[in-house]
């Protein structure tokens, strides 16, 4: 044991300064001994480091005082001790941020501070290189739920109908630091293994077929001119907005129906015989009448069905009708098909007198004045008020009314991409007519298992599956079913469920095949494809140029959506945007669709920055954002149409740039009726700087609600909270990041006056979004705050690098990884701060390329 370890210090009498000094010297002796033993950085710098700590730190973090429970004079200089290393990193960070020494203390000499920081960083790198031999290794990890589903999809070429994906059957995965990629959290327990087995059985059932499809594709058409011939539907022809003609019908209001038609032949009045993909087509034309607007048509399946199947403008003129089509999954449950005209002309109008009488009857009923009811009823009869509606004189002449001309409704399905499906051929590669024997099964799995296990497979491994199949056949199971059992076993095997890389205590380089898997699960959350495997087999993945090219190709592939829904969504915490519902009465502009758009915006923004190779610093501030029509209107941005998200350039001075201009983030940091600046501040520190503050101590409670009469703003109440000294210590470092966002209300709308809670009328207090950052810099408003964020690009890069490191390697960055993280951050800075640059740096790193 080294002399003068921290535990020895407890014997020191704290009142005696002489002892203090000697303790510190003891610690430095320890430093010297330590460094001469080769455990850290350049020991020739020791005197300078000593002086810096005693001049700037020991006053508050020494034997007399331990502010923040931190004591630096007795800090173990053993950089291999994770606890000590964490403190050294903390020291470095606080110095870097200018948060320590605190502003009221004298500033340290800039050169001395820089020297100190560099000294710690150099020590870190030394330790890191050493530690690669032990800690900081990539651990065995099982697939998470998304990876499992994607892998099954790519391995077998399966597409899942809604409700049938493994995503629906596997339980959600545990997260660490917000990500579901961390090895230590991805455990296996009996119930999960049971689920894996069950899901594998489902997958095998779906993948392998026996014989012909149970229900062949059938095209079923109902000519609407037959409406008049159907006893159950004939009444429609008498409706005011309905005209039955020789070749078609004209729909001016309401909807048609397919009541007695469109049954799949051979079933008992089932329109959809089996869950599957179906094409729904309507041959239609339209006459907009005098409205000038295109006629909008809706195709529906109600009564437990899928609801609206298609909604579209019908622009074809009656002289040349067109077929409008949608292909979508349909289930057995559900009623008839219907076609509806939207915004139809009104054929009846409300009868105000009738309504008034009804209301009078209701009121009389409440007070049980039955005589009054009888009187009113009599009057209604006498005045001929028999229904709430009466014909609209405006629609007597139908010439000007928008009309939908409907020719037929057609349902085709179930649609099969091919039969037998691709997934079947993934195993039964010889096609029809092949001899179904054990030899064939052996061939199948010899071809299939290396793909499933992502590595070469021995004959013995194939033989164990073949043995299983043989056992099934001997028990009388049919051939296809026996192959299914084999496939189930493969998908339940640890070889499939875990991303397995053999390795002992020694660090080794990955093989190209292993590297291909890591790369693919990083960017696609799925197995490598053929071309990546081909490169691996050819031994080309050691070539940086080839890897860079592959990264490009993979990011351009639609499968990289997994990086958006995996990394993007979890980094930005988009799942949490809508957890609290805004108060409906206070925020009438809000609705569910808008909420969904808020989530979609942040994801679209991420995808745009990722795929367009833009600087990630656009998350701090940007001169563009992504919106659709609804969200654009909400933000007051003009000229955007449709539901799809597109990029818009923001006018100078718009607050909508960057992540913090996005409404979803603000809604997350609100509780429905008021903003939560602390929660917003924690979000900013966590997401942008990977520096979440420690959770509050138990029993701190929340900001008091706004009791009527007092009308204090959230900011005022927070200031009261800060008067408590113990609270203030932490809140100084959190609140500035949240109070700057006070101009965004509960739903992320821009406000200049307080709203929500009890604030109403013209006298509402003005929003104060000024503050002082922990490093002493002040801002007057949100715009200035964002400038201060942009000053911290380095901190942002490091944070992003740490988050993506965790995502790519399945473990959080440890203090020993600091050097690696710095490399990533440097690579980002040198490469225009793109995600692509960061990704390339990660996949080129030793951490990523070794086991």
């Amino acid at each position: 044991m080294r002399p003068g370890g921290p535990s020895n210090n407890s014997v020191i009498d704290r009142r005696q300064t002489r002892w203090v000094l000697s303790t510190f010297i003891a610690a430095l002796v320890q430093l010297t001994v330590f460094y001469s033993a080769g455990h850290g950085a350049d020991s020739t710098d020791i005197p300078t480091v000593t002086r810096f700590i005693s001049d700037n730190c020991v006053g508050c973090h020494g034997p007399l005082k331990q502010k923040g429970k931190l004591r630096l004079d007795s800090l173990s200089p053993n950089f291999e001790d994770p606890a000590a290393l964490r403190v050294w990193v903390e020291v470095m960070d606080k110095l870097n941020l200018g948060e320590m020494p605190p502003e009221e203390k004298p500033r340290p000499d800039v050169q001395a501070q820089l020297h100190m920081v560099k000294w710690i960083a150099a020590g870190l790198r030394t330790v890191q290189r050493k530690s690669l031999g032990s800690g900081g290794r990539m651990m065995l990890r099982r697939l998470n739920r998304a990876e499992y589903a994607n892998t099954v999809r790519d391995l077998l070429g399966l597409t899942f109908l809604p409700g049938e994906s493994p995503l629906e059957f596997l339980p959600p995965d545990a997260k660490a630091d917000g990500f579901d990629k961390v090895s230590a959290m991805l455990m296996v327990d009996p119930s999960l293994l049971d689920k894996y087995y069950e899901v594998a059985q489902r997958v095998a059932d779906k993948a392998i077929v026996r014989g012909d499809p149970p229900f062949p594709t059938y095209r079923n058409r109902f000519y609407l001119k037959d409406t008049a011939k159907r006893a159950a539907n004939r009444y429609l022809c008498d409706e005011p907005g309905f005209k039955c003609r020789e070749d078609d019908i004209i729909l001016m209001a309401g909807a048609t129906r397919s009541y007695d038609d469109l049954f799949y032949p051979g079933t008992k009045r089932k329109r959809i015989p089996i869950k599957g993909m179906y094409a729904v087509r309507v041959r239609a034309a339209a006459d907009p009448g005098s409205s000038g607007k295109p006629v909008r048509m809706q195709v529906l399946r109600e009564s437990g069905g899928e609801g609206v199947l298609m909604e579209t403008d019908v622009t074809a003129p009656p002289s040349s009708p067109q077929v409008y089509q949608v292909v979508l999954p349909l289930g057995v449950e559900g009623g008839e098909f219907a076609v509806k005209i939207l915004d139809p002309a009104k054929f009846t109008i409300n009868n105000g007198a009738y309504r008034n009488m009804e209301r009078a009857i209701e009121k009389a009923g409440e007070i049980k004045d039955f005589a009054a009811i009888m009187r009113t009823k009599g009057r209604m009869l006498a005045e001929g008020l028999l229904s709430g509606g009466c014909p609209n004189p405006e629609t007597v002449d139908t010439a000007k009314i928008p009309k939908l001309y409907l020719d037929y409704i057609e349902i085709e399905g179930p649609l099969y991409e091919q039969w037998p499906p691709k997934s079947h051929q993934a195993l039964f590669f010889k096609g029809k007519g092949a001899v179904q024997d054990i030899a064939y099964a052996r061939e199948m799995f010899t071809r299939f298992m290396p793909k499933a296990f992502r590595r070469p497979v021995s004959a013995g491994e194939v033989e164990s599956i073949v043995g299983l199949i043989k056992g099934e056949l001997d028990a009388g199971t049919n051939y296809e079913e026996a192959i299914r059992v084999g496939l189930t076993a493969v998908l339940t095997s640890p070889n499939f469920i875990y991303l397995f890389e053999p390795g002992g205590e020694q660090v080794r380089s990955l093989t190209d095949l292993e590297f291909a898997s890591r790369l693919s699960y990083f960017l696609w959350s799925s197995m490598p494809d053929e071309s990546l495997l081909a490169l691996a087999k050819a031994g080309k993945l050691h070539d940086p140029g080839t890897v860079s090219h592959e990264v490009d190709r993979m990011l351009a592939d639609p499968k990289s959506r997994a990086l958006v829904s995996g990394f993007g969504a979890q980094w930005l915490k988009t799942d949490e945007f809508r957890t609290t519902k805004p108060d409906e009465k206070l925020y009438r502009d809000y609705n569910d669709k808008l909420g969904q758009d808020m989530v979609a915006q942040s994801l679209a923004f991420f995808e745009y920055v990722l795929t367009k190779n833009l600087p990630a610093t656009n998350f701090l501030d940007s001169d563009f954002t992504l919106v659709n029509e609804r969200l654009a209107k909400f933000y007051g941005i003009e000229g955007v149409q449709g539901d799809a998200f597109g990029v818009v350039k923001l006018p100078a001075g718009s607050p909508r740039g960057g992540l913090l201009g996005q409404a979803g983030v603000m809604m997350r940091g609100s509780d429905g009726s008021r903003t939560k600046p602390v929660q917003r501040g924690v979000y900013v520190r966590d997401v942008l700087f990977n520096d979440p503050p420690d959770p509050p101590p138990p029993n701190v409670g929340e900001i008091e609600p706004n009791i009527q009469g007092k009308n204090l703003t959230v900011r005022d109440r927070l200031k009261q909270h800060q008067k408590i000294e113990t609270c203030a210590a932490c809140h100084r470092g959190i609140d500035p990041y949240g109070l700057a966002l006070e101009n965004f209300n509960v739903i992320g709308a821009w406000r200049t006056q307080q709203d929500g809670e009890n604030f109403r009328g013209a006298k509402r207090p003005a929003i104060d979004a000024s503050g002082k950052m922990p490093n002493g810099k002040t801002y007057a408003d949100f715009a200035e705050f964002k400038k201060l964020l942009l000053d911290q690009k380095d901190r942002f890069r490091t944070a992003l690098a740490e988050k993506m490191f965790l995502y790519a390697l399945g473990r959080p960055a440890e203090p020993a990884d600091r050097g690696t993280i710095m490399q990533f951050a440097d690579a980002m800075a040198a490469g225009n701060d793109t995600f692509r640059g960061l990704i390339e740096a990660i996949v080129a790193s030793e951490a990523f390329r070794t086991k």
Partner: protein, 439 residues
């Protein structure tokens, strides 16, 4: 330790007694054994309950002590059950408070540490050998949701892995009571054979992998191994039980169990119906001796907890941040009282079932508490122990324990009473609560 094991194992009783299976446990057993074996008591049962996010302790904790204590507003619904429960003040979760309390709740181990076996699973090791299911995990939320503060389960196996809970009474009912039809019976033997072969095969796979990795990866593979072993044990149990018909309990709610009902789904969800169906399932499972151990997360930590029918203005968690606002405190107490009225319903159901000269409630010891008290505290937990008079529990009405008595001592008391094997050092407990044990 009390000795409450029946003289004859349940399985032995059942051998060749398929027809009897249709009858509730003791009704059938007592008629045949009442004459011969007066000491043959009904088995001991144990269940643990989690009410997330504390309660309004200002209206929960009674001001006076003893058997004739004054019931507080929240405890009022328990009035008819005086003598069958004890309110325990002074319980404390060292690692609880805040919103991480669901983790240490049953293990005393904090959220960021590796967990260990929970009391219900300890009990299942002693009580679960002779029933169709060793234990039941129930919850208002399905799965484990491990990692989240709103943990869905309080059951942990010996490896410290959370055990998934079920939240759909329909699924639970079918698991416990739905008889297999002919096709299912035919498929079952095929299914058993396949499961057996596949488990064999993947165990070999895991063994091969184990030889190729270092120590830390081997630990991770151990989880897989253990899971295979556990599934094999479950399979064995299933095979053994498959030849015996499931019991067919008498319940007025059979139709309600006929369709799926979960809090997160279904329009028209009514919590009152749901709560009663769930509590009834425990009663039925115990009554038919389908299991003797149960854990139930009645309300998760942090999330959920109130339903439209409660008529309150905020979510339960939002209410617990009451900020001394009288309306929040009032609504909190209102919600807590609703939960206690369901608890009273549950006790009533257990009491209504006779087992010889005792009731099912006498043979069942139940403990509930939370991961926090009021204001997210580690102390002032809403802790109540109910039932178990036939197992030697001596109820004290309101018992004030020394300040910061570990919650584990409550579990310790329960385990002691059901005759489970408790390790010498049980969590941070210093022993069972003596006042609750009949001398």
């Amino acid at each position: 330790m009390s000795s409450t094991r029946p003289v004859l194992s349940r399985r032995a009783m059942l051998r060749g007694a398929g027809a009897l299976m249709a009858l509730p446990y003791l009704e059938s057993m007592m008629t045949s054994s009442a004459l011969a074996a007066p000491q043959a008591a009904a088995p001991a049962r144990m269940a643990m309950f989690y009410f997330g996010t504390g309660m309004n302790m200002r209206q929960f904790t009674p001001s006076d002590e003893g058997k004739n204590f004054t019931l507080t507003r929240i405890l009022k619904p328990l009035e008819p059950h005086r003598g069958n429960f004890t309110v325990l003040s002074g319980t404390y979760l060292e690692k609880g408070g805040g919103h991480d309390g669901a983790y240490p709740f049953s293990t005393s181990i904090s959220k960021d540490r590796k967990q260990s076996i929970s009391p219900d699973q300890l009990a299942a090791e002693s009580l679960g050998a002779d029933t169709r299911y060793a234990s039941l995990q129930m919850s208002v939320k399905a799965g484990t949701d491990f990692g989240s503060q709103a943990l869905a389960t309080i059951a942990w196996n010996r490896q410290g892995v959370p055990l998934a809970a079920e939240n759909d009474p329909h699924v639970l009912y079918n698991r416990l009571f739905k008889p297999d039809d002919e096709q299912e019976k035919a498929q079952r033997s095929t299914e058993f054979r396949r499961r057996h072969s596949v488990l064999d095969l993947v165990r070999e796979d895991a063994k091969n992998l184990e030889g190729k990795v270092g120590a830390s990866d081997r630990q991770r593979l151990d989880q897989y191994f253990n899971s295979v072993r556990e599934l094999e044990k479950q399979l064995e149990r299933r095979v053994a039980w498959s030849s015996k018909a499931k019991p067919n309990p008498d319940t007025p709610h059979r139709d309600d169990y006929g369709k799926s009902m979960t809090p997160e789904g279904a329009p028209g969800f009514f919590y009152d119906t749901y709560a009663k169906l769930m509590y009834d399932l425990i009663v039925l499972a115990f009554q038919t001796d389908s299991t003797r151990v149960c854990s139930y997360v009645v309300r998760t930590e942090l999330a959920g907890g109130v339903y439209p029918e409660f008529g309150v203005s905020k979510g339960y968690h939002a209410l617990t941040h009451h900020g001394n606002d009288p309306q929040n405190l009032e609504e909190l107490a209102k919600v807590d009282t609703i939960y206690m009225s369901h608890w009273a319903y549950f006790l009533n159901r257990l009491k209504s079932i006779q087992e010889g000269n005792q009731t099912l409630l006498d043979r069942t010891v139940l403990g509930f508490s939370s991961g926090m008290g009021i204001g997210h505290s580690k102390d002032l937990l809403p802790t109540v122990i109910s039932g178990g008079s036939g197992l030697g529990i001596d109820h004290q009405g309101h018992l004030k324990l020394p300040t910061n008595t570990p919650l584990a001592s409550v579990w310790h008391t329960m385990l002691d009473r059901v005759g489970a094997a408790v390790p010498a050092e049980f969590q941070d407990s210093k022993g069972p609560i003596k006042q609750l044990i009949r001398a």
